[in-house]
Symmetry: C2
Subunit: 425 residues, 2 copies
Amino acid sequence: MQIIKYPNRDVWQQILSRPIMDSSSLFDTVRKVIDDIRLNGDDAVRQYTKKFDGVELSSFEVTQSEIDEAEKIVSAQLKQAIEIAKNNIHKFHSAQMPELKKIQTTSGVFCWQKAVGIEKVGLYIPGGTAPLFSTVLMLAIPAQIAGCKEILLCSPPDKNGNIHPAVLYAAKISGVHKILKIGGTQAIAAMAYGTESVPKVYKIFGPGNQYVTAAKQLVSLKDVAIDMPAGPSEVEVLADETANPAFVAADLLSQAEHGVDSQSILITTSETLIEQVKVEIDKQLEQLPRKDLAKKALDNSKLILVETMAEAVEMTNEYAPEHLIISTESYTDIANSIVNAGSVFLGNYTPESAGDYASGTNHTLPTNGYAKAYSGVNLDSFMRKITFQEITKEGLTNLSNAIILMAENEELQAHSNAVKVRIGD
Amino acid sequence: MQIIKYPNRDVWQQILSRPIMDSSSLFDTVRKVIDDIRLNGDDAVRQYTKKFDGVELSSFEVTQSEIDEAEKIVSAQLKQAIEIAKNNIHKFHSAQMPELKKIQTTSGVFCWQKAVGIEKVGLYIPGGTAPLFSTVLMLAIPAQIAGCKEILLCSPPDKNGNIHPAVLYAAKISGVHKILKIGGTQAIAAMAYGTESVPKVYKIFGPGNQYVTAAKQLVSLKDVAIDMPAGPSEVEVLADETANPAFVAADLLSQAEHGVDSQSILITTSETLIEQVKVEIDKQLEQLPRKDLAKKALDNSKLILVETMAEAVEMTNEYAPEHLIISTESYTDIANSIVNAGSVFLGNYTPESAGDYASGTNHTLPTNGYAKAYSGVNLDSFMRKITFQEITKEGLTNLSNAIILMAENEELQAHSNAVKVRIGD
């Protein structure tokens, strides 16, 4: 961990830079796989699954009996925990259903929006060291609330051709319609274009490694929408002298254990806190099963001391963290001045892990400073707003001069005619 | 125009296919310009402006005196028309400000969203044959309502180094902060990375030719967000025997005059209507100044006869038109079953041109079937929703078992520790 004291404004950008991540170098490799799957469908998917996942599958779809079996394997305790998370996620995302108004903009001119679920969505859940069943909940529950008609889930099979039972169980209780044992680029390509086994979807969600990210970016160029560009996870703790060093250390470490490219940042006005947090990190780190990985991630991490809370807030908005924990005395005031962040955690008893799992908020969030332009995944991500308008003859007459003049000044005579022919001009 | 009668379901996809559009073939060309501008800033922009727009500029920024001058040139009538449009666009987009609720998902666990304007946005307004001042209103007004702090506008200069006065006037009254005489790829690159004259923005909006589209796509891969992928404009009229053939013809033609790659589709249950519309198109076409262009666009266009209104609706949702005009007896019922469209116009007195200019709805809409996954530009496009949560010690205790169990089952011990350290477990 680097300790940086009172940095000048002109080095902020450098201090706050993320570990470099550029998936475009993988585009050529990934494009070949995509093209192959587009052309050869299931056969190509089967070959890549053999090559990358080390297993030969005759069928990709998880059967009902596999799901039933998974349900038996998952412990009652974990089921109960998942149920609590599910209920909270459902409550928070249901409350996001927009209330859209019909507006009369001019007498006789009525305009409104209708929010409609994206009919077909694809969720990608990575495999790897740990089963990310929490991400299943975060993506499938809002999809179901949005009214998506086909919710597809792809996740790589293990060497035995199975998906982790907790992932299957989470998918079952969140309304996923079809689960496929397909991972990596092949999953993204199959969902983007469809194969014999995989229906084409309109939008693809979910995290993944650099190959998955590159594949999502490539297919998003013209064939399918994606949730957002993804990068390594990151947390910032913004704290003053009232923060509890043990809590801050635990939060920084919970980010660091995600992967070697994770980033944990502390921005504080308290030099004492930095010293105490450093001690606490060393202490807590030793007890972590993933300590080697977390140690490497801590190399990307910074403890930054600034003069004032105003400066700390400004630096935070410049960094635009995916997760922001505010542990200060007047955290409500500070929260009001945050404009760039994915998800914000307020006070001493709101750890990031609450939002990662069970408080109800979504954990699929913009990394890499994308919070400046993107929201995290929320109910909107699974819907579109279609505009409607209905104009009476009187309403059209009221607007006719404006439309005709504007159209003719844009040299679009037929646009003007479409009004004239109606009002008998 | 092709007339297609009672097509089978299995040829729908082919019938409804768009004129091919693939900007990725331009990526290599466009990437060179982008890289040059990223490296050499204003100097590179100046050279490309000379090359592509045929004018040497010492300064790119439009001065206050140029704006004042433009205001004098625009006629009082056109100003009044623009004012009407502005007011309606303002009313409709202001009503879209989300009302976000604070939810207590579990006792002591409070979650909410805050909508915040994207701080820096860039609007691109193409040059070309006609001044698109209406697009200035459509992009800048919602940006202003959203609370964007820096609204930048780029548009190519003409041979004399000027931007059309109506574009400048529209920018002035819509709250644009800075107008730059930069067009094409160079505008997109300058806004994505910033130059000496052009501040970097976080999201780029606006239409453009294939080079602009390719440039937007390339910069969106990792450096800046964009509104949506753009393609040629299109309209579908969904009509029964109650539709007025002259109105339908006028609507199809108002789309056709946009460009040779525009597409106009009629889907109807009435064979008589098709015959009448054909006659009307021939009649109205002759009077259009852009008739040669419109004739070419009509080659992409189809008049499709189907058996039932249910089939017409299904085909419409499959096509997912940018603009959809519903001219049927029971248009409200039909509107309720539309799930894929950008903007929908109901009844006989609601031409697309009303929404293009002055009713208040946005005219920046998803083309090329993207309506299946994307909304048109609306207030949301200029905002992000940041999630907040505040948990009391009691609230965290209520969630603690669920978080700890889920984290440990995902093998993330430090996530679990962040809870344990707080509740003294």
